[in-house]
Every structure is written in structure tokens, then in C-alpha cells.
Subunit: 355 residues, 2 copies
């Protein structure tokens, strides 16, 4: 497979659009957790019940006229090879939980992969809408539309007092998880991030790494999301997150300016050295690659690095994950082999820019 073709397979179409504030906010995501009233929740559901859930939802989404969402493709997890599941995780289209632990899981994807509906994950439905840049409201609007549209076909487990019922009590109420993926290299470089994260946590928000819960922030990319799903409206949850994100954008921009004004040559040195590593190394671990990609992306955003497209960070952060590397190599690779393949892929990707 040519690298161009591989990239076009690897990068979801929605990612290619450049959204607002995309120098800092890589993507915005809304996720709604829902369950069907008449079936046991997935952890307790029998095989028959789980299959019935899939049938119900697949049936509902097969209608041609599913609003503005186009047609959905349904993938049954038990029919996918482990590498294919891994790739879906790396594209943020399914959760590690669905890939690894769900017995009767499925996922429904729309054409540009901006909508993914996981079935029989922790809940019967996890509706996810992804937008590039800072578009939380747009994502919420779309998710709500989709939710309403599905609700016309099925009965959700809903309690007048507690709202939508979910497997895990942390999702009860709105079932809403709103999150943004932010690139905050200047706040990391100026060490402000260690002061900012606890402050964000105190506001009832959570800061995680790029692959969600339990993952470390790689390449200065942080996922920021709401903790609380109950006792606030969907709009208020999103508005509170938006407020914090706006502040973070401001702080990151100020920190970038501080670096550029006071430490210009040191910043340039760091950025170009990282470019040199990406363009030349023959062996590179994912952590170093992510850090160098972050530096180069910062350089592009600040106009220090020219002639390289901004999407290189988003793209290569995904392309250099183990699943993709193995898919590209078309074979299973041990970690040492992956480090070599990762370096090759990054060099080839950079050469595409220069061509």
C-alpha cells in the first residue's frame, strides 16, 4: 500500500477539515451513554439479549433517511482481527474496553467517521460525535439530533428523577461526556501545566492523555472532559467545559508569545532539533516521536517551521501507534521492530511534504 493511500485510510475524513482554534484544539467530542429499556445492561445481558440490541439498533440505523447522518456501516467486533480492533481504537472510533472486553460488541460508523455508535460497550449505546478544532456546540447539536432520531425508534432506559440510566453511576443523568483534545506545548515548556491541571480538576473537569483514561499525555496533547453528568443540563455541562477551554487557549497563546519573545533562539533550536530527529532517525520510540511531533507542530503554528502541513501532528500521532504500524507493515511486529518501522514511516511522511 502506498503511504498516501495508507494515510487516507488511517485519517478519518472529519479530521482533515480544519476547525476553529485548531492551532490549539485538535478535536472536540460529545459522547452520550444510553441503554434500551427492555434489555439487561451489557454486563448482565445474555448473548441473545446482546444480539437483539444490535439487531434493534442496526435495524433503526439502516433506514435510508437517518437524518443528516448518511448511511451507517456496522462492524461486529467478534468478526474483526485483533489488529483491526486496535486500529479502530487508535482512530478513536471505539474504546479499548469495546475492543478488548466486550463479548458482543459492535460499532456503527457513518461515512466520514465523525459519528460512531458503540453497541454493547459498558452501555447498550455510546453515541459519539467528533469534530475537528473547537466545535463542542456543533458536536452537541449533532449528537442531540442523532439521539432524538434514535429515540423515535427505541425506548431508552430513563428515570424521571435521575435521567438516563447507565451501567456506571458516573454517567447517570445526561449520560454526556464532552471532551476536547488540546495541544499545550507552551504550557508544558513553561511548566505552568503542573499548576493548571489541579485547578482544572477542582472545577469538576478531568485531564487525561490522548488515549483517554489511564493514559499519559503524549506529545503535550491533553484530553479535557467533564466529570459530572448529573444535576446540570447538557448545555451547561458543555458551556462550563467551553469556558475552561477558552481560558486554556488564552493561557497557551500567552505562553507561546512569552517563549517567542524571551527565548526565541532556544525555542527554534528545540523545534528544529526535533525536526532533525523526525527527518533522520532510524529507530524511534513512540514517546520521543510524540514529543518531537509536538515541537514541530508548535513550530508550524508559530511560523518557525515552514512548508510542512499542520496536520502532521494529528496524523503521525495516530499513524505511529502500534496498530497502524503493524497494519502498514502488514505483519505483526515486536516493539524493537515497531521503533524501526515508526522511524521509517515518519521519514517517508516528511518526504511527502518535501516532494
Amino acid at each position: 500500500m502506498s503511504l498516501e493511500h495508507f494515510i487516507s485510510e488511517a485519517i478519518s475524513p472529519w479530521m482533515k477539515k480544519e476547525g476553529p482554534d485548531s492551532d490549539i484544539v485538535l478535536s472536540s467530542r460529545i459522547r452520550l451513554a444510553r441503554n434500551l429499556e427492555k434489555y439487561n445492561f451489557p454486563d448482565l445481558a445474555s448473548k441473545e439479549e446482546s444480539e437483539a440490541v444490535i439487531q434493534t439498533l442496526a435495524g433503526a440505523c439502516k433506514e435510508k433517511s437517518c437524518g443528516n447522518f448518511g448511511e451507517f456501516e456496522i462492524l461486529h467486533l467478534d468478526q474483526l482481527k485483533s489488529l483491526a480492533k486496535r486500529v479502530l481504537v487508535e482512530k478513536h472510533l471505539i474504546s479499548p474496553h469495546l475492543a478488548e472486553q466486550s463479548k458482543f460488541g459492535a460499532v456503527m460508523l457513518n461515512h466520514d467517521e465523525s459519528v460512531s455508535i458503540m453497541v454493547n460497550e459498558e452501555d447498550h449505546l455510546r453515541i459519539q460525535c467528533l469534530f475537528s478544532g473547537f466545535q463542542l456546540n456543533e458536536a452537541l447539536t449533532l449528537a442531540a439530533e442523532l439521539d432524538d432520531w434514535i429515540e423515535q425508534k427505541v425506548d431508552y432506559a430513563f428515570d424521571e428523577e435521575r435521567g438516563y440510566l447507565t451501567s456506571c453511576p458516573t454517567n447517570v443523568g445526561t449520560g454526556l461526556r464532552a471532551s476536547v483534545m488540546m495541544h499545550l506545548p507552551a504550557l508544558v515548556l513553561t511548566k505552568q501545566i503542573s499548576r493548571i491541571i489541579p485547578a482544572i480538576n477542582q472545577l469538576g473537569l478531568v485531564v487525561r492523555g490522548i488515549y483517554g483514561e489511564g493514559t499519559e499525555a503524549q506529545g503535550n496533547v491533553f484530553q479535557i472532559s467533564n466529570q459530572i453528568t448529573l444535576g446540570k443540563s447538557e448545555e451547561d455541562i458543555v458551556e462550563d467545559l467551553r469556558g475552561v477551554v477558552l481560558q486554556l487557549i488564552q493561557q497557551e497563546r500567552t505562553a507561546r508569545k512569552t517563549l517567542q519573545d524571551g527565548l526565541k533562539i532556544q525555542l527554534e533550536d528545540r523545534i528544529f532539533r526535533s525536526y532533525g530527529v523526525l527527518a533522520n532517525s532510524r529507530i524511534i520510540q513512540s514517546k520521543e516521536a510524540a514529543q518531537c511531533l509536538s515541537d514541530v507542530r508548535l513550530g508550524i503554528d508559530l511560523g518557525i517551521v515552514e512548508g510542512i502541513s499542520r496536520s502532521i501532528l494529528n496524523e503521525l500521532m495516530i499513524l505511529t501507534q502500534p496498530g497502524f504500524l503493524q497494519q502498514y507493515a502488514n505483519e505483526m511486529l515486536n516493539p524493537d521492530e515497531r521503533d524501526i518501522r515508526r522511524a521509517t514511516l515518519i521519514r517517508e511522511r516528511i518526504k511527502l511534504e518535501e516532494a
Copy 2:
């Protein structure tokens, strides 16, 4: 000054010729210490005596017919700015001692700078012949010819039993110091060098850094020279050194092969990363620059790096020294400024290759 022109000023013509075994031996040098009989040695000489010594030698070397050596240009150290002296040291044409401590020093240089005669350094004369690659015998032949030719004009301080008399007893006898500059990256990488240096010392030879006594080996370049000047003929001294150098060449070649066979990708990774640093950094200290240049030169010698001339190591090791950097910048620079200027000069030099 354009970089091309600056380089042509900075690199002595003799360095541009490629000598035998120049993948490992960068240069060969013979130095003869001599004193004139009727004057006090420089440390004790009066101003008048020192000037008389210069006059005598300058007069002798002004004759048109000075053998095969062409005309000599004479530079009086007290008429040179400190930066110009520093540049001569960095070109290996004079010693730091002559630049910094000699009161009435001078240096006579032939056209291609392969011959330098320091006057009133520690001894009245220090005759030095420089050849590229492994050409100790050739350098000895030339130095002896020059020595004979001067001896026709002046009376050397000579003792039948002890040979040529010198200021420092370590030079008495032949007054000969033979040395080679060797690039031994594979012996350093395989850590064999720490075993080899003591063994060389036991043979009565000395291993030093690129700028002689008291300097650390930068960029895996080692100067190897004889310790003993007394009780052996000039030919034997050079022959003993040659034997050791031949062995070192063999050991370095074997170590390079071992690295290439067993650790190919790791070696390539190291070499190309170093290339990436040289081609991209905006701030670089001399030690890191030397190490990266060593790696890249090894890559060129092994055919791993292509399209870059082999002379880049020799050239940039000199060009990036403080004196040259300041000459190129045409102003005095503090260490931080030098690190920036060094990075710029290296990038520009590499771009010349790509052009």
C-alpha cells in the same frame, strides 16, 4: 565574506589533498626542535638576542632558492591581533604557547602552509611539516631536508653525546616529535579505546586531544606521538610510531566492520540523528558539534551517508573553533553567541554540499 571564501582561507591548502588511509588518519606531522648556538635559549634571551634570532632565520629563509619549499612569509606575533593568533593556533600552524606566552615570537609559513617554522617559542626554532593522511615518512623527509638546508646557514646548538640541545629536556637528542591525528570513532563506540590508550602509553607513545597537550579528545580525534626523543634515530622513532598507527588503523577498521555487521540499524540511527542535529540545530556547543561531526564522518567513510564530502569533519572541526567563529562573525563573541554562530556556520556548510 562568503562562506566559500572563508573556508578557503580557513583550510590550509595541504589539508585539501587527500592522503593515504585518510578514512582514519587525518594528518601526519613532524616537528623538529632546534636552537642557535650563539644565543641564549628564548626563556633567557634578551630582546636584542631574540630579534637577532628572527633576523638570522628570516634572512636565511628569504633566499629565493630555499630548496623545494618556496618562499616563506614571516609573521611577527607582536604585530598580530589576538584573534589572528587564535586562528593560527586553530589551524595548527602555531602552538598556544607561541600565541600566548612568547614575547618575541614569530612564525614563517610556506605557500601551502604545510611548513611552519615557529621562532622563539620554547626553542629558537620549531620546524613543523604537515601532511594529509598517513605520510609520516614523507613528512620526515621534508623536515630533514629543511633542517639540513637551514643548518647550512646557521650553527645549531648541538652536543656530540646528547644531540640537539633544547629548552626542555624531554626534547633533547633528535628534537623530533612525530605525530598523527587519527579519527577512531568505532574504537570509542565499542569502548576498546580505554584499553588501547594505556597500552599505547606503555610503548612510550602519548595520546592527546586534537589541540595537543592538555586537551581532551573532541570528536573522537586523537593525536598520537612519540614521547622519547633521545637514544633512538629519527627513522626508528618514526618507524615505531608508524607500527602502532598501522595497528590502530587495523583495529579501527575491524571495529567499524563489527558495528556495521552487528548493529547496523543502531549505527545508522546514531549517524543520521547526528546529521539531523548538525543540519538543524540553532545552538550547539563545540563538544556536541565535534561528536556529531565524528558520527557523520564515520557515516561517510562507511558509505551510510552519501553526497557529503569527507573533508567536512576536518574542515568544520577547525571552522567551529572560537577564533574562526569570531573571524567569520567579524566581531568578538561570548560563548553563548559562539554556540549560535557555530550552529549557523555548520548549517550553511551543509547547505553548500546540498547545493
